[in-house]
């Protein structure tokens, strides 16, 4: 038990070093506050959970506690990544992505509580490990990402990714580090993020062992949220990496950037290599967790397969990352030899990108960060409330097709911030006036009232009688 606090602390150390710095530089208080508070709650939750790990019984309280954690986790994962996706400030985007990852951690934690409440100790331990492993991983790769973002800021003096671009040629090592961090954070195989997300997902898939239909189907929705989060995370980091490091530079600052000093790279290199090591040999990290929390789980050799068995001892799923690595390498060697034999030696020429014959391919033709986020912004429009201010200047007033210049200001609103400022004005007349608006004239709304009444009454009675 003495290890408990230490283990938690150890997992959080890089965060403790880097977070305050980042948050100090982030102008937006609400988002950082949100992340910070949630991290604290997470730690609190972990500790509390640990003290009760054996004491959890199947009382509905614990089930609801677990479900509550999962719901909060799913929502914050989704919300966090959605805001990270449209954010143009690289550090704030990373901060939002922290919210997402804490959400994923919460999902695992909540699952652990739920499983424990239903007396499924092995599953409970599994999801707990998943959650803790993700905490550990997150602290590693998020530290890495924040450090590289700091390097970018250091050498280009800007955090706005709209002004960056092409940095991979100027700062190759930093770019490499950021790439590793990105691949890790979006949970792609062979790096550590994949393992913990795989574990979380597996524990989500195991929900069918819970003896309650309502919970099972609700947890299916958690899978939905989780999957969407993973997908959005992929898009977010493609956008962040692509716009920051690839293609042409979008500003003078970015064009004149130089690689950061070596000693700044060393710290990152350590973190990056631990991402890789934990990805290939996840058991090192898992053993750390098991011993730190004194869990009833048999740790074994670092090359062991992670294997999850069903209730009837058949193989539910298994994962052996060293094996994956072997396959990957051998395929690579194979195809390399094959291509050499068939194709022989060929020449590679460098030439400009295809410009449709117009010539003068400028950096303005490439996709901007905002336009990269546009389709997703549109699809989740309900959530972002996107707003475009289009200000066009015409050559003549008569012909509105020949535009001299167009100025588009595209904004999204953080509906959560807005919702925080509640509407405080109320009075009985105001309320009455609102009530009166029920008669909105829309027959659709009327039928909706009927449906809502019906469902509300059914719920009211349904829960009244069965519990």
């Amino acid at each position: 038990m003495a290890f408990v606090g230490f283990g938690t602390k150890a997992g959080m150390v890089p965060l403790h070093i880097w977070k305050p710095k980042v948050y100090a530089s982030a102008p937006d208080n609400t988002s950082s506050l949100m992340a910070a508070v949630m991290l604290k709650i997470a730690i609190y939750g972990i500790v509390r959970h640990l003290f009760d790990f054996n004491a959890i019984d199947s009382s509905p309280d614990y089930v609801w506690l677990g479900m509550g954690i999962i719901i909060i986790g799913s929502i914050s994962a989704l919300v966090g990544i959605l805001y990270a996706l449209v954010e143009n400030d690289i550090k704030r985007a990373l901060a939002f992505s922290s919210i997402e990852n804490v959400g994923i951690i919460f999902i695992g934690l909540g699952l652990s509580v739920v499983f424990a409440a239903f007396h499924l100790p092995s599953l409970s331990v599994l999801s707990f490990i998943a959650s803790m492993f993700h905490t550990l991983n997150h602290s590693i790769f998020k530290g890495l990402l924040f450090m590289t973002a700091g390097s970018v800021h250091y050498s280009t003096h800007t955090k706005n990714i709209e002004d960056l671009g092409g940095l991979i040629k100027k700062m190759p090592w930093t770019a490499m580090m950021f790439l590793i961090g990105s691949v890790a954070i979006i949970g792609l195989p062979s790096l550590n993020g994949f393992i913990s997300e795989w574990l979380t997902l597996q524990s989500l898939l195991a929900v069918f062992q819970i003896p309650s239909n309502v919970l099972q189907v609700s947890l299916a929705f958690a899978i939905l949220a989780f999957a969407l989060t993973i997908g959005l995370a992929g898009a977010t980091f493609v956008r962040l990496f692509g716009v920051t490091f690839l293609s042409k530079s979008r500003s003078v600052n970015a064009a004149n950037a130089i690689e950061v000093p070596k000693f700044m790279l060393i710290g990152k290199a350590i973190l990056a290599s631990s991402c890789i090591i934990l990805g290939i040999l996840p058991f090192i990290g898992m053993n750390l967790i098991v011993s730190a929390f004194n869990l009833p789980y048999m740790p074994s050799s670092p090359f062991e397969t992670i294997s999850i068995t069903n209730s009837d001892d058949s193989n539910f799923a298994s994962l052996m990352m060293p094996g994956v690595l072997v396959i990957l390498t051998s395929v690579f060697v194979g195809v390399f030899v094959f291509v050499r034999i068939i194709g022989g030696k060929t020449k590679t020429m460098k030439y400009g990108t295809w410009d449709c014959g117009f010539g003068n391919l400028s950096e303005k033709t490439q996709y901007t960060a905002t336009s990269l986020a546009e389709p997703i912004r549109r699809i989740f429009g309900v959530f972002y409330k996107p707003h475009n201010d289009i200000d066009a200047d015409f050559y003549t007033k008569k012909n509105l097709y020949l535009k001299k210049s167009i100025n588009v200001i595209s904004t999204t609103r953080n509906i959560f911030d807005e919702k925080l400022y509640g509407k405080t004005i109320s009075g009985s007349l105001f309320v009455l006036n609102k009530i009166r608006k029920i008669q909105s004239g829309k027959v659709n709304a009327y039928i909706l009232y009927i449906m809502v009444t019906l469902v509300a009454l059914l719920l009211f009675v349904g829960f009244g009688t069965h519990e």
Binding site: I186, Q202, F208, Q216, A220, G231, G242, L246, G344, Y367
Partner: protein, 315 residues
């Protein structure tokens, strides 16, 4: 389950090689069928092989704006997709590499390839690459939930995400399809069309910027790199087809390992995949490309379909 002989591992490698080698053939078959149903003659079914070999022998041109990401992407893409092929049963009821990874790993490997492909699209500083990447990005964001839900349904019904487990328990269930799986089938089919860039989602046979998704990402590639990109795309399609027939039509797997059994198994497999491929090709000739933002409607259909599948499981 975990102890296989060297021989069986050899068979496993054979299965993977089959997928990798046969995949251009399936592409050829599909093109031929599409051509026929549009009253064209079309190229021979071996044309994709000739294409790949020809491309492999060509010199290539690389954009001067691009970085090593651009050059490394075809390799990563090919290696991840080809590695994924190792986990797919073809004529055996299992894959000996099933211990190494499950269906989630396959999804992850695809995602890794796709991640680099999107980066490569952004790397060349052309607006086409960006356009392709962004659309690919949107599509994968939307497909992800549908995919995971479908996996969830399949995992529920067939006890696990391990592909070998899934296939063997699919083989054990009755011929009458379980209602929940019926929904998973619909969802999986839609996802398959989306992932392989089939018609309502993407039109790979055009180079018009309004319509293309996948093609605009690989626009700048030539020579070896293009060959690898096209091939890995074919492999991905083959893997998805193979998974589809493995899970939903799991008949005639080889029970005893013998030369005759294996060859029959291979034949049956090729037939099943070809039938599926022809079916998809027919569907492709029947539908028009959808507006990009309507694509999400279809994917919503897949999601809800698999959600109902989940519900059916719990009843």
């Amino acid at each position: 389950m975990s102890d296989f002989s060297i021989f069986e591992y050899g068979l496993g490698i054979l299965q993977a090689l089959l997928i990798i080698v046969l995949s251009p053939l399936i592409v050829g078959i599909m093109r031929k069928i599409k051509a026929k149903s549009q009253k064209r003659i079309g190229a021979g079914i071996c044309q994709p092989y000739y294409d790949i070999i020809k491309l492999l022998r060509k010199d290539e041109i690389v954009s001067d704006q691009s970085s090593w990401i651009f050059r490394v992407t075809p390799w990563i893409n090919f290696v991840t997709t080809a590695s994924a092929a190792f986990f797919i049963p073809v004529f055996l009821i299992y894959s000996p590499f099933g211990v190494v990874g499950d269906v989630l790993l396959v999804v992850g490997l695809f995602a890794l390839g796709k991640f680099f492909m999107m980066l490569a699209g952004l790397d060349v500083a052309s607006s086409f690459g960006g356009l392709g990447s962004i659309r690919e990005m949107m599509m994968s964001v939307l497909v992800e939930p549908a995919l995971f839900m479908t996996i969830f349904v399949i995992a529920l019904f067939y006890d696990g995400t391990n592909i070998s487990t899934i296939v063997s328990s699919a083989n054990d269930t009755s011929i009458l399809i379980v209602p929940g799986i019926l929904f998973a089938l619909i969802a999986f089919f839609i996802i398959m069309m989306a992932e392989t860039g089939k018609l309502p989602f993407d039109n790979p046979s055009t180079h018009l910027e309004l319509t293309m998704i996948h093609e605009s990402v690989v626009l700048e590639y030539s020579g070896k790199n293009l060959a690898l990109m096209e091939w890995s795309h074919a492999i991905k399609q083959m893997i998805l087809f193979a998974l589809f027939v493995d899970i939903f039509f799991p008949w005639n797997f080889v029970e005893q390992i013998s030369l005759v059994g294996i060859s029959i198994g291979i034949l049956v497999f090729i037939t099943k995949v070809s039938v599926l491929a022809s079916f998809t090709a027919f569907i492709e000739t029947l539908v028009a490309k959808w507006r990009l933002f309507r694509v999400s409607d279809l994917i919503a259909m897949a999601i809800s379909s698999s959600m109902i599948g989940v519900i059916f499981f719990f009843l």
